[in-house]
Symmetry: C2
Subunit: 337 residues, 2 copies
DNA sequence: GTTGATCTGAGGTGCGTACCTCAATTAAGC
DNA sequence: GCTTAATTGAGGTACGCACCTCAGATCAAC
């Protein structure tokens, strides 16, 4: 039989109350006693029964996902997965909710986060640009006892859930090079805004591979669409007009729908190797139809489940298996959709 | 507050004992009463608290993974993931164990499975060839009340956990075609044994794509290694001698180490596009060194966690979210390892 | 109406932990 | 040694459900 708290109390020569105080980090225990209990934990191999602990808490874990108010298909997909998780999670006493924050107004976003109280929420996964205001708000949340982790954005932070965007860019670069083979020419790189760290990282990774291993290719400075179809058409047409040897298109942003549409209309896409990011209804359809050649993807379901596992582990101050939590950089083509 | 069994009893106008009988499928309840309770469940949106239910069972779930006695690196990897899961699972009252079965002796395998009693085990994931003896043994296990699911092998069975091998082969075929570009020549396909259904499916998928879309390529009949380095060297050398235009090598089996080694020794691999299955220490190293170009993979951690989720859901007669349980066909290259 | 079988209710115990109160003990400062 | 504060123990209740017993109700067949 697995040792219980009762066994632990006996082994440590203390009462259940003290065991409880130590296990849950409550105050009013001498350092020496804490050490005694910890020794006993190791000695008898005690491990808290999380099932019983969760039940005894008398309330569900409540986790929030703070996501931008504006977003494309990929964000919709993530939100759908959060809601899906919520449905099955309730039976395991985990409730999840989506909180929208305004990524264009850092002050308002910080205020929204500031309003969250530990009474209503145990942890939060944040998908937001790293502005000083947000950073401050997060710091204050942690002080109030709310666990936080960066989600999809801000990979350099601790406990990040998401992919290594630099490696993702390198992956795209490798595929671009290999798919183009001996062909010589220009590659267009497109994103919503070059301000975003994700785009920067991806571009760095992409260039790293292409410049080193595919000297037959030349990558143009990144074009910006600002998510605007008109502007997308404009910059794309300009680039195609200016270079008659365009052979590849790398769509770096999460919103590939408009570039694909515009590319198709310009009748350019059929001759190009096109690589985009994130599986959405649009990129999936484009993969099937052959309009694009590969998609670099991170699984939204895994993202959500991993974030919840990590938040929960933090609440129970456990550690997690890093190997289990690394989000894969997936390569999708028509055949493995 | 979520409705509890008590609320359900009140809503259905029956006692807690009857609610328990219905929820857990015990005998001695009239059909009409069962219907009344089920109606009430829907009406008030009752959902069993799995945390409390698990605790009240007074014992952990015990799941087994039946895997072949002989196997290569990929099997080792899977077993390692099972043990890893076991360590974290115990805190959630899920115990897992590995059972070795002799895949060369179906009778002995069936006997091993036959010895398993519902007292000692709640469910089992089986990775074994589909012989009549095994099929019988599984049938009898289910009758005894042990849940079973096919694992990695036998994808056509219900509840299968693993990848669609035909699609995996098609994925390999597409990559082979794209990586070779305009090059013309012969492609070698290699496996341990063509008797295995996995190999057959992969070959079918591979051929489907290559024969249709890459007429510049010709795929030779599948070579068999029987897992023997000597034989591998022999058949590979023969094939390379017989065809001076070999441009690609497709290693279909799970054990790629020997073919990669032999190919390297024959000094052939550097000129070829090589695609293998399953990430292992060998294929990972070969990807990094450039000896192979891509690996088609299924994540062992996901395989194990998914199998456990499905077995547990079956024990609690719940349904699972199919979308969450589909094992991805992953494409690995050096950049997204 | 009786008998026997079938169904249902009432009530209990226990799982392993969280979280609470209050009294008792021990340590620390003077 | 005394006072005060810090530490510890004892005991309780609760979570939502599984699983048990036994008496009482209901039903069907005769």
């Amino acid at each position: 039989m697995r040792p219980t708290t009762k066994d632990l109390a006996k082994a440590a020569g203390v009462s259940l109350a003290t065991v409880d105080r130590v296990l849950n980090g409550r105050s009013g225990v001498r350092k020496k006693t804490i050490a005694t209990v910890n020794d006993a934990i190791k000695r008898i191999g005690f491990e808290r029964n999380q099932i019983a602990a969760t039940l005894a808490r008398q309330r569900a874990y409540r986790f929030a996902f703070a996501v931008p108010r504006s977003g494309g298909e990929f964000l919709d997909e993530i939100i759908e997965r959060i809601r899906e998780f919520d449905r099955v999670g309730r039976a395991e006493m985990i409730e999840t909710e989506v909180i929208r924050i305004d990524d264009r107004d850092p002050h308002e976003a910080a205020r929204t986060l500031g309003r969250l109280s530990p009474d209503k929420i145990d942890g939060i996964a944040i998908m937001a640009p790293e502005t000083p205001q947000i950073r401050d708000a997060l710091h204050r949340m942690r002080e109030r006892g709310i666990e936080t982790i960066p989600f999809v954005a801000n990979q350099q932070e601790d406990g990040f859930v998401g992919i290594d965007n630099r490696a993702a860019g390198a992956t795209a670069g490798r595929l671009m090079g290999r798919f183009l083979g001996q062909r010589q020419g220009t590659v267009i790189a497109l994103t919503e805004t070059t301000q975003s760290r994700d785009s920067l990282e991806r571009r760095l990774g992409f260039d790293g591979v292409v410049n080193r291993d595919y000297t037959n290719l030349r990558v143009l400075p990144t074009l910006e669409t600002h998510g605007d179809p008109g502007r997308t058409r404009h910059v794309l047409r300009n680039a195609l007009d200016a270079h008659d040897d365009v052979v590849g298109l790398y769509i770096m942003g999460a919103e590939a729908r408009t570039p694909i549409e515009v590319g198709g209309q310009l009748n350019a896409i059929n001759r190009l190797v096109v690589i985009a990011h994130e599986r959405t209804l649009s990129t999936e359809a484009a993969l099937r139809s052959g309009e694009i050649d590969a998609v670099i993807h991170q699984d939204p379901g895994h993202l959500v489940r991993s974030a919840v596992r990590i938040l929960r582990a933090k609440c129970e101050n456990r550690s997690t298996l890093a190997s289990q939590e690394r989000i894969r950089i997936e390569i999708l083509i028509a055949e493995n959709l």
